[in-house]
């Protein structure tokens, strides 16, 4: 159950960012921003010639005291960043992967919409609802 989900464009600006505790959103935005550096590092570390072999799932980017940040990058250099609660130890790697896969699928659905210009903010309701289903249910 993610606490914050962000979709970052190739040029490193956010296409979509949403976090659960609606107060203190800025903290999450900051975390996502700093994680971009780590993502870039991982991408470049995999070698330029081996783009085919590069895995989309980047794994744990960095852990903080309260949170863990996971990353995923698509072939078009669109990054998905997910922040999860550290206390949620039941979350396994597989689950994170599946969440990213769902994100990726929804993202491609958004892309298929001819009225969507790549580079715009994502305003699709279907995407929203999918992200909501992934987020922590805060009562």
């Amino acid at each position: 159950m993610a606490v914050c989900v962000a979709v970052i464009a190739k040029e490193n600006y956010p296409l979509y960012i949403r976090s659960i505790p609606t107060e203190n959103e800025l903290k999450f935005h900051y975390m996502v921003h700093t994680s971009l550096d780590v993502v870039d590092e991982k991408i470049s570390a995999m070698g330029k010639a081996l783009v085919d072999q590069r895995e989309l799932y980047l794994g744990l980017l960095y852990p903080t005291e309260d949170y863990k940040v996971y990353g995923y990058v698509t072939n078009s250099k669109v990054k998905f960043v997910m922040v999860v609660d550290s206390s949620n130890t039941a979350l396994r790697d597989n689950e994170i992967r599946s969440m990213f896969r769902k994100l990726h699928n929804s993202y491609t659905d958004v892309m298929c919409n001819p009225f969507y210009n790549p580079g715009d903010r994502i305003q699709s309701r279907a995407f929203d609802s999918m992200v909501t289903s992934m987020m922590v249910q805060v009562c």
């Binding site: 491609t108 659905d109 298929c112 919409n113 001819p114 009225f115 309701r125």
Partner: protein, 601 residues
């Protein structure tokens, strides 16, 4: 209670009601009274306050009821006076029953007098019914009546201002209510069932009809609460046609009443229209429209991009970036609904889902053949015009397109001619607007004598290389004819025919006399050749517009051919020169080579 009420009649005379009458009246009264009691906004508490402890019918519902009897207002006033309501200030049971009796009397043609009610009378008739007037509840006929009542009520601006949208909507939505009274407090869960009943009746009854009432129906039957002002405003506009339509047709049988979301159901006419639009974009009804084509098409509807994006999201069920025919129909329908003021649904309504649409209308082939035969028949399609009225918004938007294009074409100058040729190229892209521009330009042409290229915008600018293009254009045009063309469709088809024929014949005829004239000009001009050669040329007298255009087109073809010939000749000459120069150069280089070692050494 009835007997007692009869005994307590204001006029002092016992009111004798038959069994049937008693039942009817008591039910009616209960309705009106119930409305008064429970209604949040309707039942005037003053009525209850005025008669504490006694049941009285609220003025509002009673007024509705009376008006539903379709008696003239004066008569109604008389009746209310006579029955004593005016005197006592409210409609008690006695007054109510007397009033009903009086209404029955009036409807039977008897004068409105207290004496009239003494005799046996048929039950008062409320509403439209041609059938006889037993008030049946939940009956399809009555639901029709409900809807007819609404426009009826709207027209009559009375002191009963409670006739607002809420009442109207709830009227349509209450099933067990007699169609006559308006219960503002109708429980919401009644909404679905009668809606489908009544609306499906409407559909069946108006299927064969003029599609114009469709728009009227939609605003009336609004399942999702939000009472947007827009739909509410529409009924007054359409109510005339609505009443007419209802009075004309009524088939009380129930089809497709499984789904309660009526505005999201596609009628036959709409379906046909959508299919034709689909064809205009993509000739094969079983394949899809690509995203970009669909985007251009839907953008013409002038909805905002986020809304269009959302509509796409709803309708493209498989998210493949392309629209099949049912998906396209769903999307189009959503756009139409949105333009008519309906809020977009949260999810795709079941009646718009592709499987449902495919199941409901599984006859693309038949439509195909119909369509072809239709296009061959000459112009003046009644239906597209009707459809136009129905879908006037989207059509108008699409029709708006040719308007700017036409302005440029209404000149005779040679430069304009050149620009026209260029514009023809651009206008090629606006396929669906081609037919509109075409007939309109024809109307402008009678003034122009020069016979310069009057704009068949759909035709390719270069006739020679694009013969095949023309053939395909000719095919598409008959299809486009069915589409939002409002004026004569004959002209595009007529014009296409001379194109599909080998154009060489007429050209040859014209070419000879022109040839000496053109020969002079050809060598002198290069790129500006085609346009300049066109100058004095076709003053061939043309009386009819179509023949003039034909000749003009042929002229254009000829000009282009000449230009091509000129350029080709130039090209070959230049190539020749180039070769010679090359050879000279090679020769010189050889000489240089030979000479150099000698000098070096």
């Amino acid at each position: 209670m009835e007997a007692a009420a009869g005994g307590g009649c204001g006029s002092g005379q016992p009111l004798l009601l038959s069994e049937g009458e008693q039942q009817c009246y008591s039910e009616l009264f209960a309705r009106c009274a119930g409305a008064a009691g429970g209604g949040p906004g309707s039942g005037p508490p003053e009525a209850a306050r005025a008669v504490p402890g006694a049941v009285s019918a609220a003025a509002g519902p009673v007024a509705d009821l009376f008006r539903a009897s379709q008696l003239p207002a004066e008569t109604l006033h008389q009746i209310t006076e006579l029955c004593g309501a005016k005197r006592v200030g409210y409609f008690g049971p006695t007054q109510f029953y007397i009033a009903l009796k009086l209404i029955a009397a009036a409807q039977s043609g008897l004068p409105v007098r207290i004496e009239s009610i003494k005799c046996e009378l048929p039950l008062p008739r409320f509403m439209m019914s041609k059938t006889d007037a037993e008030i049946r509840f939940g009956n399809p006929a009555e639901l029709h009546g409900t809807k007819v009542q609404i426009p009826y009520l709207i027209t009559e601006k009375n002191t009963f201002k409670r006739m607002d949208d809420e009442d109207k909507q709830q009227e349509t939505q209450s099933p067990t209510m007699s169609p006559l009274a308006s219960p503002p407090s109708s429980p919401p869960h009644y909404q679905r069932v009668p809606l489908s009943h009544g609306y499906s009746k409407l559909r069946s009854s108006t299927e064969q009809m003029h599609p114009a009432p469709y728009e009227a129906r939609q605003p009336l039957v609004q399942p999702e609460g939000p009472s947007s002002g827009a739909p509410g405003a529409k009924p007054p506009r359409h109510q005339a046609s609505l009443i007419r339509s209802f009075s004309v047709e009524r088939e009380p049988h129930d089809n497709n009443s499984n789904y309660p979301d009526e505005p999201w159901r596609i009628t036959e006419e709409q379906r046909e229209y959508y299919v034709n639009q689909f064809r205009s974009l993509q000739p094969d009804p079983s394949s899809f429209i690509s995203g970009s084509v669909a985007k251009n098409f839907f953008t013409k509807s002038k909805l905002s991009i986020p809304e269009l994006s959302y509509i796409w999201e709803l309708s493209d069920a498989d998210c493949d970036g392309a629209l099949t025919l049912p998906e396209f129909c769903a999307a189009f329908h959503l756009i139409v609904a949105r333009k008519n003021g309906y809020p977009l649904p949260e999810g795709l309504p079941p009646t718009l889902q592709p499987e449902y649409l495919q199941a409901a209308f599984p006859k693309p082939k038949r439509e195909c053949s119909l369509f072809d035969s239709y296009s061959e028949s000459m112009p003046a399609n009644q239906q597209p015009r009707e459809l136009n009225r129905m879908e006037k918004l989207s059509i108008k938007d699409m029709a708006d397109f040719p308007v700017p294009a036409q302005d440029v074409t209404s000149d005779d100058k040679q430069e304009q001619n050149k620009t026209r040729l260029e514009q023809n190229k651009t206008r090629l892209a606006l396929k669906s607007t081609a037919d509109e521009a075409l007939p309109k330009d024809m109307s402008e042409d009678p003034a122009t004598k020069s016979g310069l290229l009057p704009p068949p915008p759909a035709l390719p600018p270069r006739p020679c290389p694009s013969q095949s293009e023309q053939a395909s254009e000719a095919e598409i045009h008959p299809q486009l004819n069915r589409a939002p063309s409002q004026a004569a469709d004959s002209s595009p088809t007529k014009k296409d025919i001379p194109y599909s024929q080998p154009p060489s014949k007429p050209i040859r005829r014209k070419f000879r006399p022109e040839n000496p004239a053109t020969e002079n000009q050809e060598p002198s001009s290069t790129v500006g050749g085609p346009a300049s050669a066109a100058t004095g040329k076709p003053h061939t007298a043309v009386q009819k517009q179509s023949s003039k255009q034909k000749k003009a087109i042929q002229t254009a073809i000829r000009k282009n051919k000449e230009a091509n010939a000129v350029l080709a000749r130039l090209n070959s000459e230049l190539q020749q020169q180039l070769k010679e120069v090359h050879q000279e150069r090679i020769a010189l280089e050889n000489q240089l080579e030979q000479l150099r070692p000698v000098t070096v050494l």
